[in-house]
Symmetry: none
Subunit: 238 residues, 2 copies
Amino acid sequence: METVDKKILLVEDDPNFGTVLKDYLMMNDFDVVHAKNGMEGFEKFKKDNYDLCILDVMMPYKDGFTLAKEIREKNEEVPIIFLTAKAMKEDVLRGYKVGADDYLNKPFDSEVLLMKIKAIIQRKGADSLADSKEFEFQIGNFHLNSKLRFLTLNDKEPIKLSPKENELLRLLALHLNDLMPRELALTKIWRDDNYFTSRSMDVYIAKLRKYLKSDENVEIVNIHGEGFRLLVKDQVDF
Amino acid sequence: METVDKKILLVEDDPNFGTVLKDYLMMNDFDVVHAKNGMEGFEKFKKDNYDLCILDVMMPYKDGFTLAKEIREKNEEVPIIFLTAKAMKEDVLRGYKVGADDYLNKPFDSEVLLMKIKAIIQRKGADSLADSKEFEFQIGNFHLNSKLRFLTLNDKEPIKLSPKENELLRLLALHLNDLMPRELALTKIWRDDNYFTSRSMDVYIAKLRKYLKSDENVEIVNIHGEGFRLLVKDQVDF
DNA sequence: AAAAGCGTTTAACCAAATGTTAACATCTCT
DNA sequence: AGAGATGTTAACATTTGGTTAAACGCTTTT
């Protein structure tokens, strides 16, 4: 699933600490944008989509809480972790009130931060893709580029997909290992849910199965009366 | 779904601390089940469905990490918070590795814990609102995914359930250890309460019993003239 | 303009999954 | 004991899905 590195917004005014932390996170395969204060942090936040925000509490011009509140107004979902030097109880409570996901006291262990980041992103990650404009998917050993309508297995010659094949596989990939309801595909792709469109969809499922057959760990399974499930066996986590 | 209190499993061997914490949480409108050790905690976990687990790390017989791992095998979703007296880095990392959602060092501020609990439960709730997380159940050693219509026992091959089997088991699980009235299933699932639907339901009860037979601690008992009760017995208690 | 290529739909047939009913055995309550 | 409720199994009916191939419509090629 992890086609693209997770994007982190780091807002930290201490240039030394900020740079070290940024480098450390980048070494661990995160895509980090570093803002030097609350203002800049908010500007950067508005310009891009982040998977996580790490905010220093004590900052000039605009403190971490205020920034968090502004971020929450724009986006209720994005996880927020606070960094703070002082561990005042009031601060901690205030942090959770503005919707923090976690809280870390400086100095902290970088490995611990990393674990927290992974834990938090992993939990959030699952369904945030649901409506995004993602067009690249990893499906077992396959790679689907649904913009170019290519399905590639390792270094084999890419399979060209027809528009319907592509849309259907993309919908399945968006619900990877989960149910993709029949009705969803019919309304989204065929724009009509009746006997014939449903039969047509089955024909396309058969076509996709034929393509996917060359990786035995990938399978489209039917859930009778409900829909289909694009299943990837033998999954490895990071 | 009804607005029922959130159910918390608290596993803490220190009787004083455990009781105080339980009372505090209950005062704050949580439904708390208190287990005195890891074994008991796991038994309790299997017998019911919880919104959150709070596990002490240092416990006799079975420590919090081991317990967390067992819980994770049964349920990948339920949030876990660790309590620990010592704040060893290795422990913290180990906790996150087994899928912790948070970590607290004793002594901690109860208000902070409350905030964390609320943040975590809220976060989970938001994530799963899209497809309403009301479809995963723990039934003894079984795990029911009523969205994918799977009934899984430990690492065995999942049993595929038919729509009616699934709906019926789900209704029973919603009333775990409690009466599930005949009439409820008939009106909700069969949409008609007559002689034939009632016989049909009995056929499905028989099918479910056959599936559930492989865990002798799980049983569907009849309450003559009233309905059925999905019962999870305890195996160990000390 | 006819032929060929392509994506899609329709049709037909078969296989699998699901649900209902009937028949009979057993249990529970009075 | 006896009536009604429940348990179990199997036959049967129905619904849904899988597959193949032909038909259709559209665009490009000859």
